[in-house]
Amino acid sequence: MGTETAKTVSKTENIHVWGEDTAVKKPYCKTRNGFWFAGGLGGGKELHPKSSSALPVYKIKSAGVWRHTTDFKSITFHDFAVPTIQGCSGTRQYAIGPNVGASDHIHIQNFKNTVFDNVHEESMIYIFDPPKSWANPTDCGNFPCTAPQNAVVKFTGTTYKGAVKASFTDADFQAVGNYKSVMHDTCVKKDKWNAFFCKNTKIGILKFDSLDGDTMDRSVQPVYIKNYSTGLVNKLNNDMDHCWDGVYTCQKRRTRFIAQVQTDKAYTIEYTGTPPGK
């Protein structure tokens, strides 16, 4: 949980996360992540919910906040040695990935001194495409919210051990969401991650929002971030409508946009509505 003004931090340190690489009698057949991205959100939930509307607990019901940082130190992932869950066809396991409801603002995820122990490269991370089901009048409008495809995950000081290892041995690298038209310098697509693998410390997130009085009401999306030298066209949506007024959503969506960028490039922002005054 975060705030709009004060800087907040999600910290996780010295934990161990295990995958399943052996057959069990009654496997839990559902695609899963060992560790979800942390989010700085405008509202949280009680640890012990008192109403069914709060369930499932992991479901995000508020927009991402402006300021938030993440700090994950010395997390060790063990035994994601096979990408699939044995005994379960069509299911997969990944060490790291975004919350299934992360529609608005995935802050940069900083992983320091991460250890991948007996982890298959295909199981390291998966960043899903924004689901089409978000594209409806009560959530994101006529196209899905765009946070997942602008996710930036930074690894530093990473080590690899165990019988199964990735094909690369980089201590420092980045995984970024999959926007279709272009990638940053040095990035290569990894289909099994649905993301790009990069060795580029200049990748960051550009965020901008409207401070006008109608920021929750007036739509200016889609907004396009373009880089004419590389051909990049990143189509952005604003936040999901998280507010409920009885049985209907409030039709309130904050005009805030998040885009992955390379911090030594030039970009043009094109609004499809009248740009905010401030």
């Binding site: 030594d264 490039k265 005054g277």
Partner: protein, 255 residues
């Protein structure tokens, strides 16, 4: 050598006045570059918030460094275009945008900082500029209305001295995106202007048949009545309109 940071270009639908702030401190727009007829391109060495707004093309460039937050704040302003019988070389030889802003501010009795030139281009010389209200102005609309009236009066009276003879001037697009030349509000062609076209702006004026190029307000109204009359008559007889009129006249009546 340039600093590390992103060069952002924000496209706007029209020229507008904006200030850029970093940590609540205004970052001044880049100095004018006579070679490009616009504020100088970003150097990327002046730090976060370095900016410029280019008129006519209507975009703002801002340089943002990692970790920096900047804020764009709009200014209440009148967008003005002036076309002068001059050459670009002579315009710049005469002091360029700085002297131009001096002359505008002197003519209107305002501080020079309230005049922002956003584009200068050939044709003969066209200067697009913004005349802004003070940020502390409690009633900027009244201030800008007064500025518009003052500019219009001075242009018509030929007392707005900007260096070259003013050939046309406008106060930016109206609500429908149309610019109206103060000196030629009807948008007559040069031939019409040179041909001594007679204008009769008296409603229902009797002298409205003086020539083939004549424009008569009476004639315009008559044409409108003739063209719209049958349409209105038809609409008034359609069931939906009859019911609407009935509802309006008898709002409390239940069906």
């Amino acid at each position: 050598m340039t600093g590390a940071g992103v060069e952002l270009r924000i496209q706007y639908p029209e020229s507008s006045a904006f200030d850029v702030f970093v940590n609540n401190v205004e970052v001044q727009i880049n100095n004018w570059d006579t070679k490009i007829g616009a504020p100088g391109k970003l150097t990327k060495t002046a730090g976060c918030g370095e900016n410029r707004f280019v008129g006519v093309k209507n975009y703002m460039d801002v340089f943002v460094t990692p970790g920096c937050e900047f804020e764009i704040r709009p200014r209440n302003a009148v967008l003005t275009n002036v076309r002068m019988e001059w050459t670009l070389a002579a315009f710049y030889a005469d002091g360029g945008t700085s002297t131009f802003a001096d002359r505008i501010s002197a003519a209107l009795g305002i501080h020079k900082s309230r005049v922002k030139v956003v584009a200068v281009y050939e044709g003969s010389v066209i200067v697009q500029h913004l005349i802004m209200a003070e940020t502390t102005d409690a009633n900027p609309k009244a201030t800008l209305d007064a500025i518009k009236k003052s500019v219009t009066a001075k242009v018509l009276a030929e007392t707005l001295f900007l260096g070259g003879k003013i050939l046309s001037a406008d106060l930016g697009p109206d609500l429908f995106g149309v610019k109206t030349d103060i000196l030629n509000p009807l948008g007559l062609t040069p031939a019409q202007l040179a041909g001594g076209t007679q204008l009769d702006l008296t409603v229902g004026g009797a002298g409205g048949v003086a020539g083939s190029e004549e424009i008569s307000m009476g004639g315009v109204l008559a044409s409108l009545a003739l063209s719209l009359g049958p349409t209105l008559l038809f609409l008034s007889r359609t069931p939906a309109v009859i019911k609407l009129m009935d509802d309006l006249n008898n709002p409390n009546e239940e069906e």
